[in-house]
């Protein structure tokens, strides 16, 4: 603990970097995955290819990706961009799937009703499909945000600063405290980010609370089934 207090400056710098590397890919991933997912849903054939290749992307070990990316992107080795791009790739790979699930979770009757009212496809997507897919989408986002927190630390193997540095340092200096503090901070960050997501979801989906208070119960099970397992 003494160590913690005497190194707060470095720790807060690493924490900020960690958070940055975890959050930015999440946002970028979302921006890329949503249109991709919608495209995959609309075009059966291309959709299969997109889902299949995103699955393959995910099997590339992150260590290899971190090493490879500077070569491919021409970035500097120590560039944080490498981690951000790598994690964005993973986030997209994960989010495409769960966004497809999220969009599929929208009651088809509601979709039909919206079409019947004369929504044009794009407008319907933003006004109906997307908002209604939020509960499932957020469930996926939460899983990914949490596991991103863990993934970011792998960058430390290659000298990219994050809380993972505390692990390397702790290992070489035979200093478990440092590792434990690193783990604890990562868990804390994950909790905070999760909380932020939960709050964001509450703000963005006021209607789903209305359901819980009164009226018929939603089949929650299916929503959980879709998301809990990924």
């Amino acid at each position: 603990m003494d160590w913690f207090w005497s190194n707060t400056e470095m720790i807060s710098r690493l924490t900020a970097l960690h958070l940055f590397q975890a959050v930015v890919p999440l946002l970028l991933g979302l921006l890329i995955a949503v249109p991709l997912a919608q495209f995959a849903r609309l075009h059966r054939f291309a959709g299969g290819a997109i889902l299949g290749s995103s699955a393959i992307l995910y099997t590339i070990p992150s260590l290899a990706l971190f090493v490879l990316l500077p070569v491919i992107l021409g970035t500097r080795v120590l560039d944080i961009t490498n981690v951000v791009v790598a994690l964005t790739i993973y986030a997209v790979a994960l989010l495409v799937r769960s966004t497809v699930d999220a969009l599929n979770s929208v009651d088809d009757d509601v979709r039909q009703a919206a079409t019947a009212m004369g929504y044009r496809p794009l407008r319907r997507f933003f006004a109906v499909d997307l908002p209604l897919s939020l509960p499932v989408l957020f469930a996926g986002l939460r899983v990914i945000s949490v596991s991103n927190m863990s993934l970011v630390s792998v960058g430390a193997l290659l000298g990219i600063d994050s809380l993972g540095r505390l692990f390397m340092d702790g290992l070489y200096r035979n200093f478990p405290t440092e590792i434990v503090i690193g783990i604890a901070l990562i868990l804390l960050l994950a909790l905070v980010l999760d909380l932020v997501l939960v709050l964001a979801q509450r703000l963005l989906t006021p209607w789903s609370r209305a359901v819980k208070r009164g009226g018929p119960k939603l089949p929650l099970n299916t929503v959980e089934a879709r998301t809990a397992a990924g």
Partner: protein, 373 residues
């Protein structure tokens, strides 16, 4: 107004067509009902009108214009659509749901909401419900909102796909009556899908009976379908009560209404007031029937609890069906007629009703076949 010509629809993955060579004219300002067993192509036919489904061949004209030439979204905004599951947008309040199509048409939010609030009233909902989300409403209330939403842009055409089939029978019949009431004022062109022949005959100005395989089996007035099903399929579908149902289309106005002795609560309580004839009708202070007092037990029957329960009531202006049912269900054999306030207005007798039915049949027979017996 809506004209199907040789319309066929096959879904890619099935051998037989969902709708087969359908030609049909749907009249302006009337309710046309598509009825038939499950899977016979009713929904498919309905959805081809607003191009939610595109015909494989054939044409559909709406108001003289080929629907295939109208932008789908514009076509759809000109038609209200109500379906079984209500299809309300779960993430929008009731008011915003109703305001959807006006908003799509560019009506300012405030104005669209005001109109929506009016419509809540039109469909018989408390305006306070406007702020709720669909999930906070009962099934019947959701359906009402669905109807309000379809009416919001004041479209000339309403397409309704089994809108009332998810609610329980009592609410369903309320909704049916409400729709008829609305239609009296609005005179929309309504295409209504149901698989319930009762609902079809209650609501339809014209009824199209679909057979499995997407074939149009009969297209006629409900009365025509009940009286003369063209084939065994339609006869079977119309079911065994069609004699009674058909009576529903014969006005009850001609049935002679006889006076009946009524006992108000004070008179009922006094055994000294005699029952003339076999039965007297006990009524409450407003004249509404409570039950029968048989002459033979006048002494013992002095309070409402002791009355012989009455039968169904025939409201003035209703059809022969309700008149006959009132007579048949009454323990006295006398069907009670009530006025619009529910007060007893007299009785009808089964024998006389039967004579009227017979007379009407003979008239029809003469008109059709020149025969009578």
């Amino acid at each position: 107004m809506i004209r199907f010509r040789g319309v066929t629809k096959s879904y890619g993955d099935t051998e037989s067509a969902a709708v087969e060579n359908l030609s049909l004219d749907i009249a302006r300002g009337a309710i046309t009902v598509f009825v038939g067993p499950s899977g016979c192509g009713k929904t498919t036919s309905l959805r081809m009108i607003n191009r939610m489904v595109e015909p494989t061949s054939g044409t559909i004209h709406v108001d003289g214009k080929d629907a295939a030439g109208i932008t789908p979204s514009a076509l759809r905004r000109s038609m209200g659509y109500v379906m079984q599951s209500s299809g309300l947008l779960p993430h929008r309040s009731v008011l915003d749901n109703i305001a959807t199509v006006p908003r799509l048409n560019g009506v300012p939010r405030k104005q669209a909401r005001e109109r929506a609030a009016e419509l809540l009233d039109v469909v018989g909902l408390d305006p306070a419900m406007g702020k709720r989300y669909p999930a906070q409403l009962s099934g019947g209330q959701q359906q009402r909102v669905g109807v309000a939403r379809a009416l919001a842009a004041d479209p000339p055409v309403l397409l309704m796909d089994e809108p009332f089939s998810a609610v329980d029978p009592v609410v369903r019949s309320e909704l049916q009556q409400e729709l008829l009431r609305l239609q009296r004022d609005l005179a929309k062109t309504i295409v209504f899908v149901t698989h319930d022949i009762d609902e079809a005959t209650i609501l339809g100005d014209k009824v199209a009976v679909f057979a499995v395989g997407g074939r149009l089996a009969q297209y006629d007035s409900p009365e025509g379908i009940l009286r003369a099903p063209v084939d065994d399929f339609v006869a079977g579908f119309v079911g065994r009560d069609r004699g009674f149902r058909h009576l529903g289309f014969q006005p009850g106005a001609g049935v002679p209404v006889h006076p009946v002795q009524t006992l108000d609560p004070a008179e009922l309580a006094d055994p000294a007031v005699p029952v003339q004839g076999g039965w007297a009708l006990a009524v409450d202070d407003g004249g509404r029937p409570l039950g029968w007092v048989p002459a033979s037990s006048r002494e013992t029957v002095t309070s409402p609890g002791q009355l012989v329960p009455g039968g169904s009531l025939h409201r003035r202006g209703e059809s022969l069906r309700s008149a006959l049912d009132a007579a048949l269900s009454s323990p006295s054999g006398l069907g009670v007629v009530v006025d619009d306030n529910g007060a007893a207005a007299g009785i009808v007798r089964a024998g006389e009703i039967f004579e009227l039915i017979e007379a009407a049949r003979l008239r029809r027979g003469k008109a059709l076949h020149g025969s009578a017996v």
